[in-house]
Symmetry: C2
Subunit: 198 residues, 2 copies
Amino acid sequence: MSSDAAADIMDGTHSALRTHGYAGLTMQDIADEAGLSTAALHYHFDCKHDLLVAFLDRLFEQFEARIAELDGDDAAERLLSLVETVLLPPTDDDPHEFRTALLEIEAQAPYDDAFRARLERFDETFTARVRSILETGVEEGTFAADVDPDEVASFVVTYVRGARTQNVAVGTPLDDSLAAFRDYVEGTLLADDGGAGE
Amino acid sequence: MSSDAAADIMDGTHSALRTHGYAGLTMQDIADEAGLSTAALHYHFDCKHDLLVAFLDRLFEQFEARIAELDGDDAAERLLSLVETVLLPPTDDDPHEFRTALLEIEAQAPYDDAFRARLERFDETFTARVRSILETGVEEGTFAADVDPDEVASFVVTYVRGARTQNVAVGTPLDDSLAAFRDYVEGTLLADDGGAGE
């Protein structure tokens, strides 16, 4: 596939998921958003499912790139920056409609091994990133010595998933969930002396 | 509607959601599970949507009854008992298939005001129950004086929703999420003297 066509199809899928959601999405919707014919889509992908799996793969690559570089002078700032990136991406590619479509896909995961595998990869990568920040933070003295990086990483990832679901299902603002997470980090994880550097 | 027919239809809806999920559910599926004709279903409910809204209302009544009485000698035990009840109900009416169907319904909420209103009521009731336990716990000295009941209640409800989504989407065991929550309560919320009664 030429990289132009690939990018058009992936961008079209993103737009179509926002406009139509996951459940009612058709190849025609995606073709319309991509400015291509359905024949062109079918030339690249056998079916909507294959296309969506490729879309999740691209989303994962973008996610990986996004969480690789984090702002922050210490581990606490990097952890907050990471969670902010996942809850409120700086670019405009994660509006409410798109988060809703992703939740629809999450609800399909038990019936769909390919979706499930992709979601697990997101989860493992996110968890590993949180864990690594926690480990560094405990070593550098930003986080309390009794913080267990494995356990807290799972807790944080679960919380972040809850914030996204909560936002879709009942409209809780992501800003509020992020503020509550900041309080959790400051009240629970930080070493009592406020970090080795102070 | 006779209470027998009502109970049969609601029980049939529960079974049908477990067996067929939400997206592909038909009145015929529900009728089959309820042991009734679709004509009998349509006599009571105009359409599948009205029936599902009534089902969510019944689910809410059961939820309210379930969280009204909680075991526990102090607020920390009652909080753990509450979260355990929501994550791992003692009865067998919340298997993985049913949690998946509920997540499908949550993902529909942005498109469906009636679903949305029901989910908000669950959320508000659960949040209010957590907040009231936290308030009592701070008063009785089980929880630290600096625990903010409003803020922690939102945090807890978000975490619990995350645990349920996580379980559906990537299979994280609810037991693990409950254990991590217990550590959070013990490490973060408890007063340093371990409670006024000790």
